[in-house]
């Protein structure tokens, strides 16, 4: 009997989707009618959701046509459900049809959308607004918050003095006095779980007014006291030294003696000297204070006894306190506005009716904690019995705590649940992903009777050589890294990496074992030149190592010779910046290599940005110019791209502020002439007209980009106040979030970040820059939240920037944990990157030796990899090391003979229309009396009731009916109550006339509503037709001046009525305002 809670540990390429699909089908096929309704499959991204759905439908569709017992999936399903082929086919079809017709219950969804659904059904209980939009863009929210806070400076003196201090501090650091940047930097944390986890402590402390200033005072007084103490110690040390007639150089070590450190005491930047490792080891033994035969031994001994010893031994503890308080300072000023940020955020959310995406998890955790699962299902209207959760390693603490009660509920009723994930591929820690859950915590939290762990260990993705290579690399690397951090950071690695990577080895599936081509692996190392190193020491942003760039074109040509299509090749990088450099380099190659048969087309995330397109830049220049016609730069920007798109050469005239090339003169004149009309257009139309005006639709260049831009405007208008200025501001902030969509089969090499590559696979993977610093520092350094208790007993939580200062402080624990996790992050990144390759893997890396020892410092991935490969690395049965110490390369594998592949791309004829038409004149609309047509406006202004009454009488069956209509129109807002009263009065007066009254006599059949239809569809509608026994009456109401045409019209009606009724007909013309009845 299998246990109900399955925990799948799936390594790279191990058929995770297959497993999920299989497990899903096992559950769904049990009960074709409703089985699927009880399963909730949770995926990480929208795209994954869709793929999962497609996959399930696809498999069901295939199974309903043909079952192949040879396929493992089919066989497993038949076995599990105890069905034969025929039955499985029938079941599958039934299930498929039920899913397709109950599609709303086909619950494959992202965590977020499931959570949102729950929250919506608890909105009232959670005290949310009835309608809210989920806001994804927390950056934009933060932007607004910070602006609002800064504007409050005038009214809030505490805030004001806080911010001014902050601004000053910034200036002293050589930064801009504009504090908004700094506040935003730290402010992001208010949306993060790592901060929210401490919210209670925060509310109790910082949440209270006056707490932080007090803490600030406390910090500064502790630090001040330490400086004073340092100075005092210095004085004391000097006194002792002089008392015993010593110089600091008399101590062991003479001119480099530890004793010189006494001179450093009391330095305001660091009042107590650090103990070096040797000091720490040797100083406790007084014998190490003097050289063996020192004549001053006694003096030194005495000085030691007189207090020097005690002083020295007191330093470590003092340093620790100093570091603790110093590290608190760094973020304190930005932290100071957290309280305001949080209060302001609450107001903003309320005002704009938004729910932040980052709040979703909190709310849900609260809902599932407070409510029993059955009631929750009652509220959302669906009862889930099985949960299948994918990518579990990226699940956050809050998300898990939301799910847990639901899972437990399901398990308690004996239902199957399933988690799938791979700790080794957890690279979303920065977004809150907590791999410890999968690693151990879930197992600790759920009763072991339920849990069954399964490892998916066959790799279906890669060739045997690649698998064997990765097996070896990732068996050795974790240990190597652990040793490294132990050595370099002096901390206990706690086996974290080894534990995460136990059982990393994957098997080769049977069917692949016989293949002759086993894969190709090639790694190259280069020693870093010293200039590269300097940048890194300063903790500035890392420069891209350009060494590898030269080698890539050759490699790409080789791969093409080998028969690979460009789309088979992927370059994996760590940052978008690296990607951009790479893309530029290839574009350059492509420019210079024109004429050869080789191609170098690349697609990078960067190159897909919509604003890369000249056509888009041209429209943007156009829009910017229209928003501020005095902006000459915008105007020139517009013309510069116009020239580029239309092949007009660049020239001085083009840029010169008073110049304009002849080719453009007519165009600019037209622009000036149409400027006002452009400025009045709604945004969407303006963009459309702009594209046409600029000849971009005719040129049909950059169509994807232009479409992408239009789409962005479209989305913007949907959600925002649609004005041009607002849009331009928004675009400035958001342009980097918009990329064009590329069809899967587009033949170009992909450049993508490792993060984006997760879940994808490529025939050839190239990692051009394998070397990076493992623990981020400087601007990239992460923020750690740590509880803190001050000397005076104040307790709170504080934001710390990860820096080596922390190592020797009360925050050492947090510091070390961050180091361990950073190592794990890097290891995981390497794992993800290395395992994307199906057939070939290429890597390029630099490494460096530390200055003193000839040793590669284990702080960089490049160095670690270098140590690994240069240290006799071997893998597979082959057993021979392929390291070439000469060329610093590792090379393995034989290419097979080239088999030409079909590279023909399917031809798609794009059948789309791009030109824009002015449709306004062609649109037909209905009119009403007193509407905003010129006639309507006139009537309204002149209080012309005639048209209104006419309209009402034409539709009414009598006075009562007419008054009902007056009411209806009033409710519609066409006019105010006093107008309605006047109309009512007029109607009543009119109906008081006996003749009019008789026209509405309910005893006679009327045909008012009907009117007469003549062949061809033209309608003739006299306002009233009354049929009595002996005659028919035709009445038409008119407004305005009398016209002969009125008479003609009524006569025509009379004739028609006569034909239809065969009765004598009487006709009346009734003029309203003033009332006059004319019998015809």
């Amino acid at each position: 009997m299998t246990k109900p809670f399955l925990l799948y540990r799936s390594s790279a390429g191990s058929g995770k989707t297959y497993t999920l699909t299989l497990e899903y089908l096992k559950l769904a096929l049990k009960n074709p009618k409703s089985g699927y309704r009880q399963i909730l499959a949770v995926t990480f991204t929208n795209k994954a959701t869709q793929e999962m759905k497609e996959r399930i439908v696809e498999v069901l569709e295939r199974l309903s046509r043909v079952v192949k017992p040879g396929e493992s999936l089919d066989a497993e399903l038949m076995r599990h459900l105890d069905l034969d082929e025929e039955q499985l086919m029938g079941r599958s079809r039934m299930t498929l049809l039920h899913i397709l017709h109950g599609y709303g219950h086909f619950a494959v969804s992202t965590i977020d959308s499931f959570f949102q659904k729950v929250i919506r059904s608890f909105a009232r209980e959670m005290d949310l607004q009835a309608k809210f939009d989920v806001e994804m863009d927390t950056d934009a929210v933060l932007e607004k918050l910070v602006d609002r806070i800064v504007e409050k400076v005038a009214e809030d003196p505490a805030l004001r003095s806080w911010l001014i201090d902050y601004a000053e501090e910034q200036l002293l650091d050589g930064k801009s006095w504009d504090i908004r940047v700094g506040i935003k930097g730290l402010g992001k944390e208010i949306f993060q779980e790592r901060f929210k986890a401490f919210r209670a402590v925060f509310q109790e402390s910082v949440g209270k007014a006056g707490f932080l200033p007090e803490l600030k005072g406390q910090i500064s007084s502790v630090r001040q006291a330490l400086i004073v103490e340092g100075k005092r110690q210095w004085q004391e040390a000097e006194d002792i030294r002089i008392r015993f007639g010593l110089e600091w150089t008399d101590f062991k070590g003479s001119s480099t003696s530890f004793a010189k450190k006494f001179g450093l005491l009391g330095n305001p930047k660091s009042p107590f000297p650090d103990h070096t490792v040797t000091m720490h080891r040797d100083l406790p033994d007084i014998a190490n204070w003097f050289t063996k035969k020192s004549p001053l031994e006694n003096a030194i001994r005495n000085a030691h006894a007189a207090g020097l010893g005690e002083l020295v031994y007191s330093w470590p503890e003092k340093v620790k306190v100093w570091n603790t308080y110093t590290s608190l300072q760094k973020n304190l000023n930005a932290f100071g506005v957290f309280r305001n940020l949080i209060v302001e955020l609450r107001d903003l959310k309320d005002e704009e009716g938004i729910l932040l995406i980052s709040d979703v998890n909190d709310f849900l955790a609260e809902i599932t904690r407070e409510n029993e699962a059955p009631f929750l299902y009652e509220k959302i209207g669906n009862q889930y019995q099985h949960f299948l959760i994918d990518e579990f390693q990226d699940t956050s603490e809050f998300q898990w705590s939301s799910f847990k009660p639901l899972l437990e509920n399901s398990l308690a009723s004996g239902h199957t649940n399933l988690l799938v994930g791979d700790v080794k591929q957890s690279i979303y820690r920065w977004r809150g992903g907590k791999l410890e859950l999968l690693l151990s915590e879930v197992q600790e939290q759920i009763h072991p009777d339920f849990v069954e762990v399964k490892n998916l260990s066959v790799n279906y993705r890669s060739l045997p050589g690649i698998i064997a290579f990765n097996n070896s690399v990732f068996e050795q690397l974790p240990r190597l890294m652990e040793l490294g951090m132990e050595r370099h950071y002096g901390l206990d690695p706690e086996n974290k990496l080894s534990q995460a990577f136990t059982g990393v080895s994957q098997e080769v599936p049977e069917f692949k074992k016989g293949e002759t081509f086993k894969g190709k692996i090639h790694l190259e190392f280069a020693e870093k030149t010293s200039s590269d190193k300097s940048a890194e020491d300063e903790g500035e942003e890392e420069e891209v190592e350009l060494g590898a760039l030269d080698k890539l074109p050759m490699l790409v040509m080789q791969l093409q010779d080998q028969g690979y299509a460009l789309r088979d090749i992927a370059f994996l990088v760590r940052t978008n910046g690296q990607g951009a450099v790479l893309a530029d380099a290839f574009m350059e190659v492509q420019r210079t290599q024109i004429g050869t048969d080789y191609r170098f087309a690349v697609l990078s995330e960067e190159s897909l940005f919509i604003d890369k397109s000249s056509a888009v830049k041209c429209v943007l220049g156009f829009l910017t110019y229209l928003s501020a016609p005095s902006d000459r730069v915008a105007l020139k920007t517009l013309w510069q791209y116009y020239a580029l798109v239309h092949g007009i050469p660049l020239s001085h005239e083009l840029f010169f502020v008073r110049g304009l090339p002849v080719e453009l003169q007519a165009k600019e004149a037209e622009l000036l002439q149409r400027q006002a009309s452009f400025q009045q257009m709604p945004l969407l139309e303006l963009v459309e007209q702009g594209l046409t005006f600029l000849g971009l639709t005719q040129k049909q260049q950059d169509l994807s980009y232009v479409s992408g831009f239009k789409e962005a405007v479209f989305d913007y208008v949907k959600k925002n106040r649609a004005d041009l200025l607002g849009f331009l501001d928004w675009w400035e902030l958001n342009k980097k979030k918009h990329t064009v969509k590329i069809p899967e089969d587009h033949d170009a090499m992909r450049i993508l970040t490792i993060h984006k590559a997760k879940g994808l696979q490529f025939k050839v993977v190239v990692m051009p820059f394998m070397d990076w610093g493992i623990v981020s520092s400087g601007l990239q350094a992460p923020i750690l939240w740590a509880p803190f208790e001050a000397e005076n007993g104040m307790q709170t939580v504080v934001p710390l920037t990860h820096q080596s200062l922390l190592k020797d402080s009360h925050f050492a624990g947090a510091y070390n944990e961050e180091v361990r996790l950073s190592y794990l992050d890097s290891l995981n990144m390497l794992y993800v990157a290395f395992t994307r390759a199906e057939e070939a893997f290429y890597g390029f890396s630099t490494y460096s030796f530390s200055k003193s020892k000839k040793e590669a410092s284990p702080t960089r991935t490049g160095n670690l990899l270098y140590s690994l490969f240069s240290g006799g690395f071997q893998f597979g049965e082959e057993g021979s090391s392929s390291w070439n110490a000469e060329s610093l390369t590792f090379d393995w594998g034989q290419w097979p003979a080239v088999v030409p592949r079909d590279g023909d791309e399917p031809a798609h004829a794009p059948a789309l229309r791009w030109e824009c038409m002015d449709w306004k004149s062609k649109l037909q609309t209905k009119t009403y009396p007193w509407d905003f047509s010129s006639e309507g406006i006139r009537a309204r202004e002149q209080r012309d009731f005639g048209v209104v009454i006419h309209d009402i009488l034409a539709a009414a069956q009598g006075l009562e009916d007419a008054l009902r209509l007056v009411k209806e129109y009033t409710f519609d807002g066409r006019w105010e109550a006093d107008i309605a009263a006047q109309i009512t009065l007029k109607l009543e007066q009119l109906f008081a006339l006996p003749q009019v009254k008789s026209w509405f006599d309910p005893d006679f059949p009327t045909l008012t509503e009907q009117g007469i239809l003549v062949p061809g569809g033209i309608q003739k509608r006299p306002d009233r037709i009354l049929i009595t026994k002996e005659a028919a009456l035709v009445i038409d109401f008119k407004t305005g001046v009398k016209r002969d045409s009125h008479v003609v019209q009524v006569k025509e009606y009379m004739a028609l009525v006569r034909t239809l009724t065969k009765l004598p007909v009487k006709g009346y013309l009734c003029y309203l305002e003033p009332t006059e009845i004319i019998a015809l």
Binding site: W177, H652, P682, Q924
Partner: protein
């Protein structure tokens, strides 16, 4: 193809009944129009038209009342709610809850549910037996399930839910009474009233014919069944075997029920058509990358419409109304007429944005001693709007400029208002009681201006009607205290979901409509966009305060019914169409992936239809070319202005330190700024860029150390600084005043950001003064003085004198040394690695400030050739000035620059080299290689970096 309505018309004609004795009841008004049109095509002589009305009209006539508008209803509901709820939330917060509750009440009535039982707390199973004995076993089970689950909740949660739940029950009762007392009603209420009293319905004078219905509410069903049973009414169904026979097909859900009904069942024809299967329409599905690209495809498809083909036979269905304008823009010329019938979201209309901004303006309007001012942000927003722009573009931009240049934080009325124009109308401060009149006046004004634009006109009319209603409601209730914040919030909530109804008439030309508008209509060619999950059928589910199982138990519609309605709407469009195009986008909101509709998936398995064709948008990209400009004669002429003509005192132009630094940073940037003369655009008001910050700083110090007129120097000692220190804040304020051209006595209002800047500046200047004080007496001999110098260079045309110039922040003499001091607020340092490095563009640490101060020393020496004092260039940088051992003088290598004159030759050498390159006709202006330089460049967009 014969449309259903035409068949119906024919059947009625053929029945030989007198049309004038027929009352046709249809689901919507539009179906009526088409019916008449078809009827006209069938007759050969004039006829009486039958009476045509919608089911609502029929019911309201029977009830003898019309439903009140929603806003009034929600307001009434709130009034009642306030009686029941302790500490009720304000109305604007309640508004959406109110809508939701109202919708529930409507449902309850439409489906004739026993309201008391619905809102009861049924804690005990026993109660089900007694209270709900009229329900079926199954219904009772659902109710029991709900309350059982509820029982397991903890007490606080129970209470939370129940508190509101029980209020709802009371609210329903109270609300009915309240409405009755005021002669008001809501739609469901009228339906229930009629349906529960069918006996009271008078025999109709005409024969009723119901046409084209699908999903009745229970009330409708009762009323119609009554007519069928008692008054011999008849009914025409628009149904197809395809979905009727297959019990899984949700489109047939309701029909299958009706077929089983003893009365309705008999009304179905003997032979139900199977057109979807038999007719074999061409059904194409297209997948396309982006939502807006669908418009491009629609345009293309329509290009293929033959010239002689009637346009009326083609329909474009837009499940997402927002696609309307993109589609309209892309229509081909062959479309001569068109007819749009759908709602367009009001919040996307320009007038919404404008009114929103107007309310924002009022929100921050102030009036002090009769002087009205507005906060600058909404003012600037408004001035940029098309309405004000078109009213008077010059005035609008003039005002904008003035506000920006003079940094008006609170803009006085006079600055923006202009008599007898829209400006005067918009820019006034109105009291809370006349806010709505104010908005209405603006709308009416605009309506007059924009008569020519049919869409604008419709937007305005809709906005007008809505606000008119709001005004009515508030007036009627004497709610005088209408706060702007409240109104703004209400305005946003109201307009958020408001649709502007486009109503095309007469029925000519291409038909464009929403999904529901297409009911009952048939077209030869059908193009449906957004056939995506979430659009067609729409997602979102049913919003209700009544939990799912209770809704189900009391037979209120749940998602299943909703889906069935949309499925029917979809499949019905296939009944008679000959050519169908289903278009879906593969990406949805914000670029997220988007799924094809379930309908396509169903058809692929069941009909089947071909695989979707994917339409590609080419992904080519115009390569961005590097910009390199060879020097042309025109450019050289422009550069020649920097040469001092022989015999003249000065040249037309002179190079500043920043020009030279800019050239070293990027030749193209230098070109654009100084040769093409493109000024970098000005900054906006709320913040200060580093340059302005510097300007303020200089000004502040200049004001303090000012050399009296007629004097050439001023001695400063410790005492004078003691006197100056308290004046610093005032000096900073004056600097601000001068920058923003504020008159004496005019109030200086600063944004929060600027207030901080002011404080920081004050402290910085105080630090400078303290430094000066500490270092002893000195004599100021020049402040912010322009200095000019010339340097001869070799050009192709021989030796020329280039003119250079700049303003030195401060020149003073101290202890026999001339100090040339520059104040810096950035990261600048005093370290210079070598003289050559100052001119080395590849040196990443090239010291620009060093270059500048050296240049100043050069100027000074040039101006004072007989100067005998050592010249010491120095930088006072904010970063270091606070430190105890601050020393402002430049460090070259490891030594302090004690006298410029020691380096003059070397420096001039470097300078000359630089100037010769600038003037060299063979060196083009090109982009910098170091892209970091671009991040602060104003020409980034132009340059493509």
């Amino acid at each position: 193809m014969t449309p259903f309505l035409k068949e119906t018309a024919k059947a009625l004609l053929d029945s030989g009944r007198d049309l004038k004795d027929i009352r046709l009841v249809l689901p919507n008004r539009r179906a009526g129009l088409f019916f008449t049109k078809y009827l006209g095509e069938l007759i050969d002589q004039p006829v009486w038209m039958p009476e045509v009305l919608t089911i609502e009209q029929l019911v309201y006539q029977l009830a003898g009342n019309t439903p009140t508008d929603e806003l009034t209803l929600v307001f009434e509901l709130y009034e009642e709610y306030r009686q029941l709820q302790k500490d009720p939330e304000p109305f604007d917060r309640f508004f959406h809850w109110g809508e939701l509750i109202l919708k529930d009440f409507n449902d309850l009535d439409q489906f004739l549910a026993p309201v008391n039982q619905v809102y009861a707390y049924l804690a005990e199973i026993k109660e089900f037996e007694t209270d709900l004995s009229f329900l079926t076993e199954e219904q009772r089970a659902l109710i029991a399930q709900f309350w059982k689950a509820f029982e397991r909740q903890n007490e606080t949660e129970k209470e939370r839910f129940l508190k509101f739940w029980q209020i709802l029950g009371l609210l329903y009762q109270g609300f009915q009474a309240r409405l009755q007392a005021n002669g008001l009603a809501y739609s469901g209420q009228l339906y229930r009233q009629v349906a529960e009293n069918t006996g009271a319905i008078a025999p109709p004078d005409k024969q009723l014919v119901f046409v084209g219905f699908n999903a009745f509410t229970l009330a409708e069903e009762k009323i119609i069944t009554h007519y069928l049973e008692v008054h011999g009414a008849s009914i025409f169904w628009d149904v197809d075997r395809y979905y009727l026979d297959d019990p899984l097909q949700e489109a047939g859900l309701f029909f299958r029920d009706y077929l089983k009904d003893p009365i309705l069942g008999k009304t179905f024809p003997e032979k139900i058509p199977a057109e979807i299967k038999d007719k074999g329409a061409q059904i194409h599905t297209h997948s396309i990358p982006l939502k807006t690209n669908q418009a491009n495809l629609v345009g293309k498809l329509l290009e293929q419409v033959g010239a002689d083909e009637p346009l009326e036979e083609t329909v474009i269905i837009l499940p997402d109304e927002q696609l309307l304008f993109p589609v309209l823009h892309q229509l081909p010329e062959v479309i001569a007429k068109l007819n749009v019938t759908m709602g367009y979201p009001m919040r996307n209309a320009p007038i919404y944005a404008f009114l929103d901004a107007v309310l924002d303006l009022q929100r921050y309007a102030k009036s002090k001693e009769g002087l009205v001012t507005f906060y600058h942000k909404p003012v600037l927003d408004l001035l940029a709007y098309s309405y004000l722009q078109s009213a008077d573009a010059t005035w609008a931009s003039g005002a904008t400029q003035k506000i920006q240049n003079e940094n008006w934080v609170d803009v006085p009325l006079d600055l923006v208002s202009k008599e007898n124009t829209l400006f005067a109308l918009v820019f006034q401060k109105v009291g809370s009681d006349s806010l709505l009149d104010y908005l209405l006046a603006i709308i009416q004004f605009l309506a007059k201006e924009l008569q020519e634009d049919p869409t604008q006109k419709s937007y305005l009319f809709q906005a007008f009607k809505q606000l008119n209603r709001v005004k009515e409601i508030f007036q009627a209730r004497g709610t005088k205290e209408l706060k702007v914040e409240f109104l703004l919030s209400l305005f946003r909530k109201l307009f958020r979901d408001l649709k502007l109804p486009f109503e095309g008439e007469p029925l000519q030309g291409l038909q464009v409509m929403g999904v529901l508008e297409s009911r009952n209509l048939d077209f030869k060619r059908v193009i449906i966009c957004d056939v995506n999950e979430g659009s067609f059928p729409p997602g979102g589910g049913i919003q209700s305060m009544i939990p799912f199982n209770l809704r189900k138990a009391f037979r209120l519609p749940v998602q299943e019914q909703n889906d069935a309605i949309y499925a029917y709407t979809f499949y019905r469009l296939l009944h008679r169409a000959e050519e169908v195009h289903l278009i879906y986008a593969t990406s949805g909101e914000q670029g997220k992936s988007s799924e094809m509709s379930r309908f396509i998936q169903q058809m692929r398995v069941e009909l089947p239809i071909a695989k979707p064709q994917s339409v590609l948008v080419p992904v080519n990209l115009t390569p961005n070319q590097p910009i390199t400009l060879e020097k042309t004669p025109a450019m050289l002429t422009s550069l020649a202005r920097y040469f001092k003509p022989a015999g003249e005192e000065t040249a037309e132009k002179r190079f500043s330190a920043s020009a030279l630094n800019m050239y070293l940073d990027c030749r193209l940037r230098f070109y654009l700024r100084y040769v093409a003369e493109l000024k970098e655009p000005e900054e906006v008001v709320t913040t200060i860029d580093p340059m302005t910050f510097g300007t303020l700083l200089h000004k502040g110090i200049e004001l303090l150390y000012e050399i009296p007129e007629e004097e050439t120097f001023r001695d400063i000692d410790g005492h004078s600084i003691d006197r100056l220190l308290p004046q610093v804040p005032a000096a900073v304020d004056r600097a601000f005043r001068e920058l923003y051209k504020k008159q004496e006595g005019e109030e200086l209002l600063l944004t929060g950001q600027l207030q901080i800047a002011r404080e920081v500046l004050t402290k910085y200047i105080e630090a400078i003064l303290s430094y000066d004080k500490k270092n002893g007496d000195f004599r100021v001999i020049g402040l912010e003085k322009e200095q000019i110098a010339h340097l001869s260079i070799e050009t192709q045309e021989g030796t020329k004198e280039v003119e250079l110039g700049g303003v030195i922040d401060r020149v003073d003499i101290k202890d026999g040394v001339v100090r040339l001091l520059d104040y810096k607020t950035g990261k600048d340092t005093k370290k210079i690695s070598s003289l050559v490095s100052l001119f080395d563009r590849d040196d990443k640490k090239r010291n620009k400030a060093g270059m500048q101060t050296f240049l100043y020393a050069f100027f000074y020496q040039y101006q004072h050739p007989d100067n005998q004092f050592p010249l010491k260039p120095g930088i006072m940088n904010i970063k270091e000035i606070y430190s105890e051992d601050f020393n402002p003088f430049l460090q070259l290598g490891d030594a302090e620059v004690t006298d410029y004159r020691d380096f003059a030759t070397g420096f001039k050498e470097g300078l000359r080299g630089l100037l010769e390159e600038i003037m060299d006709p063979l060196v083009p202006f090109d982009q910098t290689e170091d892209k970091k330089k671009c991040s602060y460049c104003a020409y980034q967009e132009l340059c493509g970096r």
